[in-house]
């Protein structure tokens, strides 16, 4: 078993599917010779040819819309949007078609399309390169939204996304692309697309997070442990459909919940989780729910991004607040 980074695992998952399923094609801006601006697709064109790993013209609505067309005609297209902040021109095709084709035709046509995009902040990139947009997709009926935060989960979830008979928005936290290495076996084993991951067991408070913020959340849990606060940590990962059962079970045990995400707070996915806890777990809650999120501001340029992102300190504060009540 090889130790590898999250981006290596992404690459390995695509290679695995290209190898084993003729219907799989990888396409997008600069995914060919260049291997993508982050090198997620590196070596794939060389190995599988230009017909299966295709550079496209610069047009995101085209990437999404042609993806719908290819998927409806039996391919398993894996499209790349260069950064999640450039997915918006493709929004209409995703919401009006990818997410609806099966329902619209009562199952006659389907749309097994994956759209991958690097996601989130923290890499000092230029404007529009650091967006956290999961809430916009989680609200759309008919769509799955997935964000892995470790090499193993990246591999297993991407396999699952490509094999999924329905459309999947697959965001990759670019801040974690090369942060750590983990052993990942190229065994072709997919992970389920609708179950959260309990990364750490604990008894006092449940920390619920996903995407790059998992990094700070896990750090906070480790540091809080030293203070005597025992944290259960959940990586939501499969943002939609949302596995509330795992979250409710955990909060039933701990009685406290801190939700952490990078996206703006207002009408974020954190709100949905908090709402569910309030609806179904209210009698378990021993303290008000805490949300530690990005501010309701535009993602700032590099100089200020550290101040925007939920820090380990803010997460720890929130956890401590739940212990006060």
């Amino acid at each position: 078993m090889a130790k590898m980074t999250l981006i290596d695992a992404i690459n390995m998952a695509m290679a695995h599917e290209l190898e084993n399923d003729d219907r799989v094609v990888v396409y997008g801006e600069d995914v060919g010779v260049n291997g993508g601006v982050f090198r997620a697709t590196i070596g794939l064109q060389e190995r599988f040819g230009e017909e299966r790993v295709m550079d496209t013209p610069l047009a995101e609505s085209m990437i999404a819309g042609m993806g719908v067309g290819m998927a409806a005609q039996g391919l398993r297209p894996v499209g790349e949007i260069q950064f999640s902040g450039f997915i918006y021109p493709g929004f209409d095709q995703i919401i009006s078609h990818a997410a609806r084709l099966r329902n619209r035709t009562r199952g006659r046509m389907t749309c097994p399309l994956v759209i991958r995009a690097p996601f989130g902040g923290g890499i000092h990139a230029p404007e529009h390169h650091s967006e956290s947009t999961e809430a916009l997709f989680a609200h759309i009926p008919g769509l799955r939204t997935v964000i892995p935060s470790s090499p193993q989960r990246a591999y297993g979830l991407l396999l699952a996304a490509i094999r999924c008979p329905d459309p999947v928005i697959f965001f990759e936290p670019n801040r974690l692309y090369r942060l750590t290495k983990q052993e990942v076996e190229d065994n072709g084993e997919a992970l389920p697309l609708d179950v959260c991951f309990v990364l750490r067991e604990g008894t006092d408070v449940t920390l619920i997070s996903w995407a790059p913020a998992m990094n700070e959340t896990l750090k906070a849990a480790a540091e809080l442990e030293e203070e005597g606060i025992s944290c259960e940590v959940i990586d939501v990962a499969t943002i939609a459909p949302l596995d509330m059962e795992t979250i409710l079970d955990s909060v039933a045990k701990t009685g406290r919940a801190v939700i952490v995400h990078e996206a703006p707070r207002n009408v974020g996915v954190g709100a949905e989780i908090a709402a569910n806890l309030a609806e179904h777990g209210i009698y378990d809650l021993r303290a008000p729910i805490q949300r530690v999120t990005g501010y309701d501001t535009v993602m700032p340029l590099a100089k200020m991004e550290k101040q925007y992102l939920p820090s380990t300190a803010r997460i720890k504060d929130a956890a401590r607040r739940t212990m006060e009540d």
């Binding site: 085209m62 819309g65 042609m66």
Partner: protein
């Protein structure tokens, strides 16, 4: 200044509005084929009248008429092979009926029932597409799939004059050109986009020339002349099938009815304008030609109309006798396997439906 590129837009016509040949007709314009087309166009026209009547009496939702567009649509239908793929907009009934979609299914869709899009036409044909211009990209994607699998199949798509202002239209033809896809894009220029006339839509003299932007072949055709329309379609399809690249076809026609039954065109265009176009509509000219050839009589006409009426009536009663969908239909087609949260909501909706009888 040196000239570095030159373009010409050709215009194709075989039958003038009087049904007189303007040049020697092509092979496909034989008796059998033309009669088939005339029957199809007549059927669709009678269907159209009936659908409008159903809407007026509350038995159908908003409906988009195809009055005046029959030749353009019929030619698309007959020129395509079953294995080709159609990505329509919302009013190309003649093309769809020719490809096997039932009239009752068309009514079902406009009657507000998704089951209409689970139609009897080729399973690989796209459903009606309301978000303007998006279907052009689906066709480009389908064409890419055909090319990838080395199948001799062509993706055909249709858009209106208004639709050519949308970004998706251009992105699709540009991609079709860049990848030399087996793609045929038809622009049915009926001069109006609801109340917006062509002059306000673009400064381009023709809509065919929009293909120049994509570096693809483009041509304008008299879309009320079924002979020309079919010929141009056949050529474009043959070219695409042979792997020689995409074509953009502008079909000149006119929207004789309101935009949809929810529209009232008298608010924004004159009776005279409509009148002037009535004489150029596609059925008249084909009928004149057929009669001139001695291939068609008044009796044939009456008989055909009766047959078509009966066929349409049958479709209507089929439509009206379809069992209403169960509320679970609203949930069951979002994912191959229903998700946990959706399954819970499905239970709520079923309970609700029971309560309301």
């Amino acid at each position: 200044m040196k000239t570095v590129a030159k373009f010409e837009i050709g215009f194709e016509q075989y039958l003038d509005p009087e049904g007189k040949p303007t040049k020697k007709l092509p092979r496909t314009a034989n008796k059998e084929e033309l009669l088939k087309l005339y029957r199809l166009m007549t059927l669709v026209r009678i269907f159209d009248t009936k659908a409008i009547a159903l809407q007026r009496t509350g038995k159908l939702g908003t409906y988009a008429s195809s009055l005046g567009h029959e030749a353009a649509h019929a030619a698309i239908g007959v020129a395509m092979k079953e294995k080709d793929c159609l990505a329509p907009m919302y009013r190309e009934y003649a093309a769809q009926i020719e490809r096997g979609v039932k009239m009752s299914e068309i009514l079902l869709y406009w009657g507000g029932d998704e089951r209409g899009s689970n139609f009897s036409g080729p399973a690989h044909d796209f459903p009606w597409c309301v978000p303007i211009a998006t279907q052009y990209l689906h066709a480009a994607g389908a064409a890419a799939a055909f090319k990838y699998r080395k199948e001799e199949r062509v993706a055909v798509t249709v858009i209106g004059d208004g639709g050519t202002s949308e970004g998706d239209f251009y992105e699709a033809i540009n991609a079709a050109g860049a990848w030399q896809l087996p793609f045929v894009g038809v622009v049915v220029n009926n001069k109006w986009a609801i109340s917006v006339p062509l002059e306000k839509q673009t400064a381009a003299e023709t809509l065919a020339q929009k293909g120049v932007a994509a570096g693809i072949e483009c041509v304008q055709v008299d879309g009320n002349d079924i002979v020309a329309m079919r010929e141009v379609m056949e050529k474009a399809l043959a070219k695409a099938r042979a792997g020689k690249g995409p074509t953009l076809i502008e079909a000149l026609t006119y929207r004789l009815h309101d935009h949809t039954t929810a529209d009232d065109a008298s608010r924004y265009r004159s009776d005279e304008e409509v009148k002037a176009h009535e004489s150029k509509e596609p059925l008249i000219r084909l009928r004149k030609y057929l009669m001139e050839q001695g291939w068609w009589t008044e009796e044939d006409e009456e008989k055909l109309i009766e047959e078509c009426r009966a066929e349409v009536d049958e479709a209507v009663s089929e439509y009206q006798n379809i069992e209403p969908p169960g509320v679970e239909d609203m949930f069951d087609y979002h994912f191959e396997e229903i998700t946990e949260p959706l399954a819970e909501q499905r239970e709520v909706a079923i309970r609700e439906a029971r309560r309301n009888g």
